[in-house]
């Protein structure tokens, strides 16, 4: 294992999954406050047909091209969900579930064709389902790093606008901030954060990396800035350690391990967290009860 760690390519892979976790953690906070946690799940599944189509078109596994394909099909998925909910009486969660499953089905259809025409599983596209960080090469790593950096930059440069957009849309309208523009920007960064993760984490579990760190961070702070930082930290740690654990075994999928690390952080936050953590909540309740009892007995002794 240690010999694996010191080869420079693996170091880059670790670095890139860490950056991926950081970017996903930050974007996850935006989704958390937009109350669209499961949208990332729908969009990551919807990315699959795009990946396969891009592969069929160029005939080789170039991450940048596949990521563009993934982004296009995820955006089509996002628009479809919006059309269905605005034009019919189907609720948003039904529309998301449907788009998720139908797009994924189409992806599997195309994947079967791609695998057949390129001889067995030679295409290596199967790694996009569960994630296989070990299959990444230097150019893949670079693509991921650059895109993750772009996402982070967009969030931090427009930090104030995001805050207004998420917490006070009425005020945003008042000061002339385009809600429509911000929504488009939001969907774009969300899609980028999802598609850069598809190779390392896979389309099925990518949503976890956007949801879990943000919810965990919520247990430690009331401030949005702090939540972004913590969520980024939790995401980065999950990405790094998940990849590390999966690298110890031969051809273990990366995605599930990253998710399990994130879930462990969530459970710790849930129990120990200083905002509404289970343990603290329990002690507060007990203290209040004791105080109430004490006051009760005092009152009784007076009368």
């Amino acid at each position: 294992m240690w010999s694996l760690l010191i080869t420079s390519n693996t170091q880059w892979v670790f670095f890139s999954t860490m950056m991926l976790g950081i970017a996903a953690g930050v974007i996850g906070c935006l989704s958390y406050w937009k109350r669209q946690n499961l949208m990332s799940d729908a969009l990551s599944h919807a990315a699959l047909p795009g990946v396969v189509i891009a592969f069929l078109l160029i005939g080789e596994k170039n991450l940048l091209v596949l990521v563009i394909g993934a982004a296009v099909s995820a955006i089509i998925g996002a628009f479809s969900i919006q059309w269905i909910t605005t034009w019919s009486r189907i609720s948003e969660d039904a529309a998301m579930g449907m788009i998720l499953a139908v797009f994924y089905g189409l992806g599997i259809m195309l994947l079967t064709i791609a695998n057949r025409s390129f001889g067995g599983n030679q295409s290596g596209l199967d790694s996009f389902i569960y994630g296989q960080a070990a299959s990444m090469v230097k150019s893949d790593v670079m693509t991921m790093l650059v895109l993750a950096f772009v996402v982070l930059l967009v969030v931090f440069l427009a930090y104030k606008e995001w805050k207004i957009f998420l917490f006070d849309p009425q005020f945003a309208k008042g000061i002339g901030l385009s809600i429509r523009g911000m929504s488009i920007l939001y969907t774009s960064v969300l899609v980028i954060a999802i598609v850069i993760g598809i190779q390392a984490v896979g389309v099925i579990l990518m949503a976890a990396l956007l949801i879990i760190p943000a919810v965990s961070a919520r247990y430690w702070t009331q401030s949005f800035r702090m939540m972004l930082m913590l969520s980024a930290l939790f995401g980065g740690v999950s990405g790094l350690f998940g990849t590390l654990i999966s690298a110890t075994g031969k051809s273990l999928p990366t995605g599930p391990f990253i998710v399990v690390v994130a879930a462990a952080i969530f459970i710790i936050s849930l129990i120990l967290g200083k905002e509404q953590g289970v343990l603290l909540h329990y002690f507060q309740l007990r203290m209040q009860r004791k105080k109430a009892n004490a006051i009760g007995t005092k009152e009784r002794s007076i009368t």
Binding site: Q36, N37, L38, G97, M98, A101, Y104, L106
Partner: protein
């Protein structure tokens, strides 16, 4: 029966039972719960396999039902701790699913269960695993399982038809006249899990979501009556299964993927042409 006939029968059974259950998923606005349960059922099946060391119907069914109910309970519990509803769903199912995949990849890897199979289903292998039943003779195990599940689903829908109707459309009224709303919720989640487990072998974890949601959503655009919606949704489910098979045979590709895709076609047609709720109807006669 011939090989193709068995496959078509199995597919039709999946379409029918999923279509029926899906109606209540749509009306109760818990569609994403189907997504969550279909993922966690994998963990239940893997654990059942690790305990019994065999791929047997009853153990898998039990494991799947337990996993489904545990998912529902965990989501409810996280929600009671003030986690947003959809976030708690996202946390629970991705985590349990990840554990399932890890277990398959590390311990059950070379057995009958493999990740690929669990996720995509392999309906083409179904006719090879037969069991002998009295009266019916040799029939594929998965098909027999689906028949039993369809009967269970039909029984529960018919037996508590009025209760389903009231708890679905007016939970407050249901509670006030003494219907155990929470118990009905978990019974329903149990039914969703049973249907998912039984369909698992045929269409896999994610395509079952398409089968559960899309036919019912399409039917919802055609009618306002629960009984009609149930019949329509069942019909759409079966037709989508057949259409999917034809597409798969034509393109020589994954049958389960094509079936999921076919449910999308049915929905698109309903979405555009439905006389009351379709896009064309709305464009022609806006603002009702």
């Amino acid at each position: 029966m011939t090989y193709t006939a068995w496959i078509l029968l199995t597919a039709a059974l999946v379409g029918l039972s999923c279509g029926l259950i899906g109606v209540f998923l749509i009306l109760r606005k818990t569609a994403m719960m189907a997504d969550a349960i279909s993922h966690t059922v994998l963990l239940g099946i893997v654990l059942a396999f690790l305990v019994t060391k065999e791929v047997s119907g009853p153990a898998m069914l039990l494991g799947g039902i337990l996993a489904g109910l545990i998912t529902a309970l965990l989501v409810q519990w996280l929600q009671s701790l003030k986690v947003q509803h959809d976030a708690s769903m996202g946390i629970v199912f991705t985590t349990l699913f990840a554990i399932g995949v890890i277990l398959i990849a590390t311990s059950a890897g070379n057995a009958h269960l493999d990740v690929q199979h669990a996720l995509m289903g392999e309906i083409t292998f179904i006719p090879f695993h037969t069991i002998t039943l009295p009266l019916a003779g040799d029939i594929p195990m998965a098909t027999a399982l689906l028949m039993i599940v369809l009967f269970v689903v039909l029984f529960f829908i018919a037996a508590f038809y009025k209760e389903w109707k009231i708890t679905t459309f007016d939970p407050a009224l249901a509670a006030s006249i003494g219907i155990p709303v929470a118990a009905m919720h978990y019974l329903f989640m149990g039914l969703v899990s049973v249907t998912t487990v039984a369909s698992f072998d045929a269409v896999g974890a994610i395509m079952v979501v398409a089968m559960l949601i899309a036919p019912a959503a399409s039917a919802y655009l055609w009618t306002d009556k629960l009984s009609v919606m149930l019949i329509l949704s069942g019909m759409f489910g079966v037709s989508a299964a057949f259409t999917g098979y034809v597409i798969a045979a034509w393109l020589d590709t994954s049958i389960s993927g094509s079936m999921a895709f076919a449910t999308g076609i049915f929905f698109t047609v309903s979405f555009i042409f439905s006389p009351k709720h379709g896009v064309i109807a709305k464009a022609v006669k806006p603002a009702v």
